[in-house]
């Protein structure tokens, strides 16, 4: 991709960060919801919270990244601003990078903050490789959010549709219960969901492998593969059905 196209993608991402990071739907779903989840589990059983840190960090990344995209894309479609972006001399490939970057950065930032706080408060290891797991997961989740928001017209609808994917993943991807202890059918379902690999990768790095199910290299490769597949799906959707999406 040409450098000028990447510069325009970053220009869009920077504007999105400045404009949307404090929008109410993003504050409630991207920031408050993960905090409430953590507090709920901590208050219920403070002693067990260490084992839940990988799942809760992954959850923070998931809700942060996907919520940004629901706001950034669905809202701009409604006000006609997406049409303005499509009319500008920026390729669909670069536009997709620009639009998903703000979500990926938000998810990565909130997830990293959560990981650092948990590590410092609970005395957990702070391996730098954790940042890689969080970053790749956040990119994949952000693109998942883009895919949902592209087909929805309203922010509320995009949020609701995102929950159709997000909530089942909470229960199927080892956030609270390690995948290894789940029934075979649920383990098979976990294997095809991106959140599983982020949670599992974090289990390796935060808990020293406690409760992990896949090897760490597979967590990284699978997360990256999901990101590539979701990017390809979004790109194809934009190429083929852009008029209907706008």
């Amino acid at each position: 991709m040409r450098r000028d196209q990447l510069a325009r993608a970053w220009h869009i991402a920077a504007k999105d960060m400045r404009t949307y990071y404090l929008k109410p739907p993003l504050v409630s779903w991207g920031m408050l919801f993960p905090v409430v989840m953590i507090l709920a589990f901590y208050l219920r059983s403070p002693g067990d919270i260490r084992a839940l840190v990988p799942g809760l960090v992954a959850l923070t990344v998931l809700f942060g990244a996907t919520s940004v995209e629901a706001v950034v894309i669905a809202f701009e479609k409604r006000i006609g601003a997406m049409e303005r972006l499509v009319m500008a001399p920026i390729s669909h490939a670069a536009l997709l990078i620009g639009k998903s970057a703000s979500g990926a950065l938000f998810g990565a930032a909130t997830g990293t903050l959560m990981w650092l706080l948990a590590g410092l408060v609970l005395g957990l290891p702070l391996a730098p490789a954790t940042l890689v797991v969080i970053a790749i997961g956040s990119i994949a989740f952000s693109l998942m959010g883009v895919l949902v928001a592209l087909v929805m017209r309203e922010v509320f609808d995009a949020m609701a549709m995102s929950n159709v994917f997000r909530f089942p993943m909470i229960f199927l991807c080892g956030v609270f219960v390690p995948i290894a202890t789940m029934a075979p059918a649920l383990r098979a379902a976990a294997a095809v969901l991106p959140l599983s690999y982020t949670v599992d990768g974090l289990r390796h790095l935060v808990l020293g492998g406690g409760g992990s199910y896949f090897p760490l290299w597979l967590d990284l490769v699978a997360s990256a593969a999901f990101a590539v597949l979701l990017y390809a799906a979004c790109y194809r959707l934009m190429q083929r059905r852009l008029e209907e999406l706008l």
């Binding site: 404009t19 500008a88 001399p89 008029e243």
Partner: protein, 325 residues
């Protein structure tokens, strides 16, 4: 080389043919108005010409570049003012322009200066720091045009530029358009306001149901369609029966209703006057005023499209009462 050129440009939406084998040529530096009622295919044409949607058939060239094959190059050469002022409500007027400048590749060091120059040019300097959402309708429209000019495009598309503006704002906007024309910008504008097309355009294309029915200068369109004279008649009561009877007169070439008055194209004023008075009397109506008027582009439009002027004003495309006899 023409600034804009299309060959057989066609767009289907399912069974509906929104734009039907359109051939047009817009010369560099001219104001070209696309005139037609809502649903005629004006916006669809602009969307195809600016690369937002793909044609079903045919080609569109901008500065000689095929829009489908070179979308990024074409987009860099044109500015687009959509029907809806779609800048970012939370960003200030200046920040909106700076953002759009970056999007079109204006270098970082020049964005602010370019934004400030446009704010000055469009009389918005005092509101530079106000959020776009807080501006008046006229200011929003002006800023939307400024945003389309931020990369200094040689070709500007304006989709219904004065729709929704009050009289003063619309007039100011028309002056802005003329100013751009004087600076050599090629302007392609769509409108359903006949007077606007007549006042602004070098050439007017009349579009009905996706097809161009006539293209020429406003004066040539008037001359070609309205060689006859025209009468404006006020009659009380103005019934459908009376209008039908007047339309059937041999001396009346077309009839359209404009507010309380009837506009009649006539072959000869003297004969028509007698016939109109007699017909009104026969229908139990009274003629309260008669004026001879110079045929306008509205008259040409009525003759060419068989649509009534009020239909245009209302935005519909129904064939009501304006058809030639």
């Amino acid at each position: 080389m023409p600034a804009i050129e299309t060959h057989n440009l066609t767009r289907h939406y399912g069974a509906l043919v929104a734009v039907d084998h359109l051939d047009l040529t817009v010369e560099s530096g001219e104001i070209y108005a696309f005139l037609g009622p809502n649903g005629a295919g004006k916006t669809t044409t602009i969307r195809m010409l600016t690369g937002l949607i793909r044609p079903t058939e045919g080609t569109a060239l901008i500065d000689g570049l095929d829009v489908t094959r070179n979308p990024l190059e074409v987009k860099a050469r044109v500015g687009v003012v959509p029907q809806r002022s779609n800048l970012y409500g939370e960003l200030s007027a200046r920040d909106n322009l700076i953002f759009v400048a970056g999007l079109y590749g204006v270098s970082r060091g020049h964005r602010r200066a370019r934004a400030d120059a446009l704010l000055e040019q469009f009389g918005l300097s005092e509101r530079a720091d106000a959020p776009f959402g807080a501006l008046s309708g006229g200011m929003k429209r002006r800023l939307t045009i400024a945003a389309a000019l931020v990369h200094e495009p040689p070709i500007l598309f304006l989709d219904e530029p004065t729709t929704g503006l009050d009289v003063h704002a619309a007039r100011a906007l028309r002056e802005t358009i003329v100013g751009l024309h004087h600076h050599g910008v090629t302007l392609f504008l769509t409108t359903h306001q006949i007077a606007e097309a007549e006042r602004l355009a070098d050439r007017v294309a009349i579009l009905v149901k996706g097809k161009v029915v006539a293209v020429d200068t406003p004066a040539a369109l008037r001359a070609a369609c309205c060689a006859e004279e025209a009468l404006e008649v006020n009659v009380t009561p103005l019934t459908e029966t009376l209008q039908a009877a007047l339309r059937d007169l041999d001396t009346v070439t077309y009839l359209s209703r404009r507010g309380d008055a009837l506009h009649l194209g006539v072959t000869a004023v003297d004969d028509a006057l007698h016939a109109v008075l007699a017909t009104a009397r026969d229908c139990g109506a009274r003629v309260t005023a008669v004026r001879t008027v110079t045929p306008t582009l509205e008259d040409a439009f009525v003759q060419l499209t068989h649509l009534d002027v009020e239909t245009m004003a209302g935005g519909g495309a129904n064939n009501r009462q304006g058809g030639p006899r």
